[in-house]
């Protein structure tokens, strides 16, 4: 996020795009509500009537998969009506004319049939965003989980650039990172193309620096993204590129990744699978080795929150059992393989890494203790450098000439379209009380009691009437790739033809249906769009029994004995 989370409530106008804070980040959503109370205008772009949509001034309820057409149309209105910040464009950006050439044709009338948003509504939204200062954009997975995702992120950045909404507080553009430490895992270089601190593996200078620090020569090719792994195991012909070993740490791809049938086949065919985790999970059923780690609350370290804030995590209780912290397990394997890693504690590791990353160098444990949170960039170890609340101060960007670049791209539709056999669409969304694959929250008594298997499919009431479905009824939902059983939730918060499911359920496992098509740059799957069909189950008594039996079977596989009906 270019801004800090506390700044949200002080913005003049929020363009909230494909981001449902009330379910994914309730405490960030609270800032949106407070902003509203302080007079902030809200434009919500979402195919569902989310909580943010309910308090918005303008809700653009677009058709899923039309994001870039809408963003380009907003840009078109700002340009054609002369609502641009010309001084900012002149002094701080490049590529404006080429960008205009691309968005010229995206008039609101051109976008209306693609987005299903009336042209006049697009105009109203564009005018409100462009004429209110400061204006802020927040976006979420409703932007990122499409096969055209990076283009939309750039498209949103174009809007902020053409209206001069960078360089001060309460403006800019913010991807509100979903998982607790997804910002941190990126910061630390758990990415195929970058070392810690966003230093590129293909840049000889960066490589030389890390070679010197680590005392080895390093590969210069970009590595394999995680979403390519199933295909690199199953279909790669070149033996030197085929994946034969998969060391999975703190993840459950057999539940969380798209097209689960393909993931299971890949894990099954992979020669050697190592799983390092805290709870047994679906991936563990395919692991050759399981390494038990300490969990949150049992170890020390640092997380990075969504707005670049480094904060400490601390040990609350002593771990029970034969467990080791993740960092120690990795260090011991490395040492056993002939590359010694010896650290006494997490602070030693931290001190090594911040000295290799100019943007993190000043963020010491001492500062995190004293100030609670340090937002990067924090370059100087002196206690006076308390970090950076918002980026691009005074319109200076992290490019060689400090100028931002406009990128104009054409909209393209999602890859799998509705058809006769699968006439509806499926998008995956978030559950407020459960996190990720729910091995943590599903093992918390209060949260489990709030929501449990097999989850829900949100459907428009008209579709439910047509299919003869009532609230709570078990239904079968199918795509080209698989099917699952879940409960029907009729709601007018979603439009006819679209369905929505959350991804943590074993029985209502929507990733049996999702498609493994990827954005070409980010390699993020198109979780937000695939074709599906919903079928009524006539024998509800059988279905209820079947769900119960499935649940007990899977729990037994996970080492939980449920009593009656469960396998030993």
């Amino acid at each position: 996020m270019s801004m800090g989370i506390p700044e949200i409530e002080d913005s003049g106008c929020l363009l909230c795009f494909g981001y449902n804070g009330a379910d994914s980040h309730p405490i960030v959503a609270r800032r949106i509500v407070r902003g509203k109370q302080k007079g902030m205008k809200i434009i919500c772009v979402d195919p569902r009537v989310t909580e943010t949509a309910r308090i918005s001034d303008i809700h653009l309820q677009l058709k899923g998969g039309s994001n870039l057409a809408l963003v380009n149309a907003i840009a078109n209105v700002i340009w054609s009506e002369g609502l641009t910040d010309d001084a900012f464009i002149r002094e701080h950006t490049k590529g404006y004319d080429e960008f205009i050439e691309v968005i010229k044709e995206y008039t609101p009338e051109y976008a209306e049939p693609i987005t299903h948003v009336p042209a006049e509504e697009i105009r109203r939204a564009a005018r409100l965003y462009a004429t209110t200062k400061p204006a802020m954009i927040l976006y979420g997975m409703g932007v990122c989980q499409f096969s055209q995702a990076v283009d939309v992120v750039k498209g949103l950045a174009n809007l902020a650039l053409m209206t001069g909404n960078f360089g001060g507080p309460a403006m800019g553009i913010g991807p509100v990172r979903g998982q607790n430490n997804v910002q941190g895992a990126c910061d630390m270089g758990a990415l195929p193309n970058s070392y810690p601190g966003y230093q590129n593996v293909t840049d000889p200078k960066s490589r030389e620096k890390f070679e010197k620090a680590w005392g080895v020569s390093l590969p210069d090719k970009v590595g394999c993204p995680i979403t390519h792994v199933p295909r690199r195991i199953l279909h790669e012909k070149d033996e030197s590129k085929r994946i034969h070993a998969y060391y999975i740490f703190g993840e459950d791809p057999a539940q969380s990744d798209p097209d689960l049938a393909e993931v299971r086949e890949a894990l099954d065919k992979c020669d050697f699978v190592v799983m390092q985790d805290i709870y047994m999970n679906k991936t563990g059923l395919y692991a050759d080795v399981i390494l038990p780690a300490t969990g949150w609350g049992e170890n020390e370290g640092v997380y990075t929150c969504a707005d670049r804030g480094f904060q400490r995590i601390r040990k609350l209780v002593e771990p029970e059992g034969d467990l080791k912290p993740d960092w120690q397990i990795i260090a011991e394997i490395s040492t056993a393989m002939g590359y010694p890693m010896e650290y006494k504690n997490t602070e030693e590791i931290w001190n090594e890494l911040i000295d290799l990353c100019p943007s993190f160098q000043g963020a010491t444990y001492e500062k995190m203790e004293k100030y609670g949170c340090v937002q990067w960039p924090c370059r100087d170890k002196s206690m006076e450098d308390k970090g950076t609340p918002y980026l691009h101060k005074d319109g200076k960007f992290a490019t060689a000439d400090q100028k931002a670049l406009f990128y104009g791209t054409q909209w393209h539709p999602p890859l799998e379209k509705e058809n006769e056999q699968y006439p509806m669409t499926l998008s995956t969304v978030r559950e407020v009380g459960h996190y990720s694959v729910r091995t943590m929250t599903g093992n918390c008594r209060t949260l489990r009691n709030l929501e449990d298997e097999p989850g829900w499919v949100q459907m428009n009431t008209e579709d439910c009437r047509r299919l003869g479905l009532k609230k709570g009824e078990l239904v079968k939902i199918l795509s080209k790739r698989g099917y699952c059983i879940t409960r029907c939730l009729p709601t007018d918060r979603v439009t006819p033809g679209a369905t929505y499911m959350t991804y943590q359920w074993w029985i209502g496992a929507c990733n049996e249906l999702t498609i493994a098509e990827l954005d070409p740059v980010s390699n993020t799957p198109e979780y937000k769009y695939c074709a599906c069909r919903v079928e009524k189950i006539e024998d509800q008594e059988w279905a209820e029994r079947h769900v119960q039996e499935l649940y007990e079977d899977i729990r037994a596989q996970m080492g939980i004995h449920t009593g009656k009906g469960a396998k030993a």
Partner: protein, 144 residues
């Protein structure tokens, strides 16, 4: 009963809320969790922040907490057998070394974790993959 207060960062979502815990150190159990005055949460928490620490009590609801290293000694689909850490570490090291020698470093994929583990473990994982294995095949669950 000996009690201690510990402040830490919530493990759910990227908001980075601060929680203040009261821990009974004799029983090794959490007694209470209340919102702390963090920069982003300013004295508030959502339901996951309030109730999401119960998994540390291992209530045996959904899945078994892993307590010992395990290996499928009879190959794929054979049962998992509990082993010592020494055996688990040297087995993983041996198999990864064999695969690296036979197919090259790019035949091995490793992941970081965007969840509980923390930045230091992610740093070491990518260092391990790059410096010890010799590949840039490292990524994490950012995309899901």
């Amino acid at each position: 009963m000996n009690l201690k207060q510990v402040q830490t960062t919530c493990p759910y979502c990227g908001a980075g809320c601060q929680i203040s815990f009261t821990v009974d150190t004799d029983a090794n159990k959490i007694v209470e969790a209340v919102p702390a005055d963090g920069r982003t949460n300013a004295g508030t928490l959502c339901l996951k922040g309030h109730y999401g620490w119960d998994y540390l009590n291992d209530p045996q609801i959904l899945t078994k907490r892993l307590r010992k290293p395990m290996i499928r000694k009879g190959g794929k689909k054979s049962p998992l057998v509990e082993v010592s850490w020494d055996e688990a570490i040297s087995y993983v090291a041996k198999r990864l070394t064999e695969i690296k020698e036979k197919y090259g470093p790019d035949a091995i994929m490793g992941t970081g974790s965007a969840r509980g583990a923390g930045n230091e473990a992610n740093y070491l994982m990518q260092k391990f993959m790059r410096a010890c294995i010799g590949t840039n095949n490292v990524d994490h669950c950012a995309r899901i």
